[in-house]
């Protein structure tokens, strides 16, 4: 489903070049739950951003469903993000003066979806994360765990095929982190592919595969294709 071939990413300033990704080769199959682990500054988030097309890459190729996205226009990449990819951020990234309904509806708005269909999907997503009764609340009225569940609802409302989660439990206490992980597992069980950046070894172990990044490269332990092994 996702195929990265020799992906490189360099951050340049006037004084310094930082090689964030150094020839990443990675294949992720449909329905996998992949945990991206590694020390701080190793390139995990950069890799996730490249996968989510929030960040461009300097070398290599990125294929999605067998099609290279290299050279795609802003509009094509926007459509890709809107229709196939859901994002969950560590800091939730909810708009504080919008209701939960409006926050979750946001990506659907840009898909040109009819109002009735948007309403149905938002309510369905809220139902899934257990916040259906609070659709008119604002994010500031919710706990951190609840806010992250709203962010998950926003990510899944568009029924994406891939969910990219950047330390989704990083700002949560252990109880709420467990609830969020259970929710992600539930979503994965329904067939959605998930790539999750995490520092937490326990959470990483709950994924179907762990990929470790060190200094912008996949470590040896990660260089296997689960289907090939099977």
């Amino acid at each position: 489903m996702l195929e990265l071939s020799n992906i490189t990413k360099i951050f340049r300033t006037e004084l310094i070049e930082t090689h964030a990704l150094r020839g990443i080769n990675l294949t992720v199959n449909e329905g996998e739950f992949v945990a991206l682990t590694g020390p701080s500054g190793s390139g995990k988030s950069t890799l996730l951003n490249v996968l989510g097309t929030l960040e461009s890459f300097d070398g290599g190729d990125y294929k999605l469903d067998g099609t290279s996205i290299k050279g795609w226009s802003d509009r094509e990449l926007s459509n890709l993000r809107n229709e196939k990819i859901g994002f969950i951020f560590q800091g939730f990234n909810l708009i504080k003066d919008y209701s939960l309904f409006d926050n979750i509806e946001l990506p659907l708005r840009y898909r040109g979806m009819a109002a009735s269909e948007r309403k149905r999907r938002v309510e369905q997503a809220l139902e899934l994360v257990g916040l259906a009764a609070r659709k008119d609340y604002h994010p500031s009225q919710l706990s951190g765990g609840q806010q992250q569940r709203v962010a998950i609802a926003r990510a899944i409302a568009g029924q994406p095929r891939i969910l990219l989660a950047d330390e989704p439990t990083g700002n949560l206490d252990s109880l709420m982190a467990r609830q969020v992980m259970e929710l992600l597992e539930q979503i994965n069980a329904q067939g959605c592919t998930i790539l999750m950046v995490t520092h937490d070894p326990d959470q990483a172990r709950r994924a179907s595969r762990q990929v470790q990044i060190v200094d912008g490269m996949l470590s040896d332990a990660s260089m296997y294709d689960p289907l090939a092994v099977a």
Partner: protein, 432 residues
């Protein structure tokens, strides 16, 4: 439409988030636009064509018929003598022509009444057709002969008689009885370019119109511009006015085709040659034929104050827009996180332009309201400072459309750069 309403809602939420910087932006824009509107109003009327489609075919001839040899200023006088008029209208090249000047008198309806001051336009029959003057009742003079008949404006008829249905009634003008033969309807020619000198184009239309020959017979002198190039008595227009170099008449001729215009120029040149041959035109040929749509420039009659203000207010508007754009940039940078989030969730830059257009409309709407108020105050102030220009203070559809367009353009310019800059920010930096 539903998406656009959503964009408007997002705009209003964004305003509520930081109302003070937003309204400061609006205020700065409005001050610039308001001051510009006020001046643009005057400038527009100064440049307004009162007879579109015809003003390029109406011409004002000038001839250097000064009987004395000029030494310093050899430009043709702006006013002509009665003799010049007779000579210049002795041809049938022009489709219409009318000589004229401005005078004044005192009118009343009954002998026992106190007289009312009346602005008089002394002119000829074709004046009314050349300048598209609407006749409400009656008919204009059939020729240019002497007749004790006047044509009056609707307002003057109401003022003197209390009615505009007064054709056939008598009016006493300077103790002489005249018959009212026509009443003119409200007439909106502005500026009155047939009277370009000394601010005459800004003044209201005459109350009363008197035939030229009658005015000369009755010794009505011009109250505006007149020159005499020989020993002559202005009080004896019936005699000296017709035979000597007393210059007080403006002539307008209607030359609708290029061929007629060329023929008339040739006619004027031939006229000078024959005058020279008769020993009456000692100066060089100084003939001029000004079209009405260039008369203000030819007379250098445009208000220099208004032109200077136009330049200053245009620069002031630019400074205001620059400052408003800077404030707007701060607001968009503050909202960059949300813009990046929208892009991350699938909004293309094109879709964000839709949001920007909604911002532009909201900004333009608010700025327009405030700018109009400031403009009205500015116009009132300019009327106070320059009372001669007070007739140039109204707004018509073209002007209002232009002002709305300028506001939209300004709002777009103020919003464009900040919005583009915010939408091109690095997504990953904003969404950590």
């Amino acid at each position: 439409m539903e998406q656009f309403l959503y964009y408007l809602k997002v705009s209003s939420i964004s305003i509520k988030r930081a109302p003070l910087p937003y309204f400061l932006t609006i205020l700065i824009m409005s001050v610039g636009l308001g001051v510009f509107f006020a001046n643009a109003t005057f400038y527009y009327w100064l440049k307004h064509d009162p007879l579109p489609g015809k003003s390029a075919q109406l011409f004002h001839p000038r001839m250097n018929s000064n009987p004395n040899l000029c030494s310093t200023s050899c430009e043709a006088p702006r006013v002509l003598s009665y003799r010049d008029i007779k000579a210049l209208t002795s041809t049938d090249i022009a489709s219409a022509s009318a000589a004229m000047y401005s005078a004044e008198g005192y009118a009343k309806v009954k002998e026992q009444q106190p007289a009312t001051r009346a602005n008089i336009r002394v002119t000829q029959r074709d004046f009314f057709s050349m300048f598209d003057v609407p006749v409400l009742k009656g008919a204009v003079w059939p020729d240019n002969e002497t007749r004790m008949e006047v044509i009056i404006s609707k307002a003057f008829a109401q003022k003197m008689f209390g009615s505009d249905d007064v054709v056939g009634q008598s009016l006493i003008l300077d103790d002489r009885f005249f018959k009212v033969v026509a009443v003119l309807d409200d007439w909106g020619m502005f500026p009155r370019l047939y009277e370009p000198a000394h601010g005459g184009y800004l003044e209201p239309d005459a109350d009363l119109y008197l035939p030229l020959e009658t005015a000369y017979d009755l010794n009505y002198a011009s109250n505006r511009q007149s020159q005499s190039f020989e020993d002559a008595d202005f009080q004896k227009l019936a005699t000296d006015g017709r035979t000597k170099a007393i210059h007080q008449l403006l002539l307008w001729v209607y030359l609708p085709t290029a061929e007629q215009q060329q023929q008339y120029r040739d006619f004027m040149n031939n006229l000078v040659q024959s005058e020279k041959a008769a020993g009456r035109h000692p100066n060089a040929n100084g003939n001029l034929l000004h079209p009405m749509n260039g008369i203000m420039q030819a007379y250098d009659a445009e208000s220099q104050e208004v032109k200077a203000f136009a330049l200053v207010t245009a620069l002031f508007l630019l400074v205001c827009l620059f400052n408003a754009s800077h404030l707007s940039l701060n607001r968009y940078i503050a909202n960059q996180y949300e813009i990046s989030l929208r892009r991350a969730l699938g909004a293309s830059r094109w879709q964000l332009q839709g949001q920007m257009l909604a911002d532009v409309l909201v900004t333009a709407g608010l700025a327009l309201l405030l700018a109009v108020l400031i403009a009205l105050a500015g116009i009132a102030l300019m009327n106070h400072l320059l009372p001669d220009n007070s007739r140039m203070a109204s707004w018509d559809g073209t002007l209002i459309g232009g002002l709305v367009g300028l506001t939209l353009l300004s709002a777009y310019l103020v919003t464009l750069y900040p919005a583009l800059r915010a939408s091109f920010g690095a997504l990953n930096q904003q969404l950590k």
